[in-house]
Symmetry: none
DNA sequence: TATATAATGAAACATATGGATCTTTTTCAA
DNA sequence: TTGAAAAAGATCCATATGTTTCATTATATA
């Protein structure tokens, strides 16, 4: 689509608000075609006028012309491309071409879809409930599961200060447990092969009366015996390695559920975080100049 | 689509004008979704009121509801996920608790499926190729993207010693670049809001002649200007936070592609790793006893 | 620092939209 | 042929839409 290229090409020359609207248009072409301008503006977090300005900026006569472009694209795509993808998926393993990537992605997609079955959902909800009432949440995940543990912790720090990540240089990771009590909960993430360190720390925490909830890969995982709640996620992939994508997804869902419990408070915390990071100049949208 | 069936079933019971409108709707579903009611009426050769009457005849509350059906159908071809987000927004916050998790997981599943479109696959392959020929691979991902960067690095260390993770205590993360050359490649992971530190380090590396490839969220990400190759992955979710699940999936696919380039060597490296970790008693399948 | 300029937000406007109402036409049984 | 009932057409209304204008706020320049 030439219009898309044009938006990308002119993006850098746009004002911040125009960029915002342009970005939304790039990422949600169907919405542009199907929904009113004011609605698109609302979704993009922009004033209605900005959408008109975007269209003019792109050299079009008005917003309607912009929509016309995307409507035309959708008309073609209707039974064109998307249908083919779906067809490919339905054909299953038929896709040859040595297309490892496609296989993996579709497999992962299916695994996530499976996670939305009632049993998983119930476990997610139960685990979120348990975490909700905790004074502090200790997060433990070693080796491959470090990524998931860290990410969970990171998101939780955006929301407040309840989260403690059990990791640190020089083998000091477990030290934070010193003052853990039975009011606290530990979220353990571990998949096969289970890291000895994870099991030891979890066991220790349990002996201190800390409640354990876990994200793991099987009903027969050693973590199950320690845990009040467990969520099971698949780790199989058709590559050499186990996949952590479902585990990360589960962790993200947990974060969301926790945030939903108290929307207003979550929003407030996020705004506070935003302000803090703004003060620190943490983020940028252009390549910074150095001298 | 059940609505289509319904129209067919009730067709015989309609008056001539209603049939005319129904027929047009059946034959031009995209128009119904994309165009105003009056316009559809004009195209169908029918009075505007007839379209309203058709909708009511079908038991719908009004024409808008009829259009909503066809819009939803069109969206499934295109994105699918954005629609779900939108729907949530419209429903307001009254979505049932249990549905949040389910929504999120299904949305993520759709996003991963979308990553297996030809364009993404081409980008994945090209990026893997570029990484393959590198002497060293520097991996950079700060803040939320740390999880992905770390996981990529971790898997790469299982395969060999080409990977260097640009992270470290005391702000020493960038030091490893000191000896980077044009034979090396840097994998940068960053999504909006882009961490200033990431952009700065990537820019610096590029000036040193290091090739840049990136995983980011948009064609208009600042990383695109720096990168020889870029892979785009969605980050939208219907929660407060951006999702990193697609980015992690992409990173896992990259690892697999890299391993596949030389299966025997990858296998050997993994066995070596296994042996090493075995010697260290890193893993266990039962809860360890302490005394 | 003061001033010019661009960017943004808010409000006002003309118009198009979907729906409701009322009138005319058609249909068909008595 | 006539009268009742259904269908179709015409008209009107409140609302939502895309656009423009103007005031306000950032941003850059001198």
């Amino acid at each position: 689509m030439p219009l898309k290229e044009q938006i990308i090409a002119q993006y850098d020359a746009m004002s911040p608000q125009l960029q915002r609207s342009a970005r939304y248009v790039l990422e949600h072409p169907e919405e542009v075609a199907l929904v009113s301008m004011r609605e698109v503006a609302r979704l993009a977090g922009v004033q209605p006028a900005t959408m008109t300005r975007l269209a003019k900026f792109l050299g079009l006569s008005g917003y309607d012309e912009l929509r016309a472009h995307y409507a035309a694209a959708l008309r073609q795509g209707g039974d064109g491309f998307a249908a083919k993808v779906r067809q490919r998926v339905e054909e299953g393993s038929e896709a040859l071409e040595g297309d490892i990537a496609s296989h993996m992605l579709q497999g992962l997609s299916a695994q996530l879809a499976k996670l939305s079955e009632p049993d998983s959902l119930k476990r997610l909800q139960a685990t979120a409930n348990r975490l909700r009432s905790a004074r502090k949440v200790y997060v433990l995940g070693l080796r491959s599961c470090h990524a998931v543990a860290w990410h969970f912790h990171y998101v939780m720090t955006l929301l407040g200060d309840r989260s403690v990540h059990l990791d640190g240089p020089g083998g000091t990771g477990g030290d934070a447990l010193i003052r853990a009590t039975s009011e606290d909960v530990m979220l353990v993430i571990s998949i096969k092969p289970y890291a000895t360190g994870t099991l030891e720390l979890a066991q220790l925490a349990k002996e201190q009366g800390v409640g354990i909830v876990s994200i793991t890969d099987s009903e027969v995982s050693p973590l199950v015996a320690l845990s009040e709640q467990a969520i099971f996620c698949p780790t199989e992939s058709d590559s050499f390695f186990h996949t952590l994508t479902p585990a990360l997804a589960v962790s993200e869902v947990l974060c969301s559920l926790l945030a939903e419990f108290d929307r207003p408070k979550a929003l407030e915390a996020l705004q506070q975080t935003d302000q803090h990071l703004l003060n620190l100049n943490t983020y940028s949208t252009a390549i910074p100049k150095r001298q």
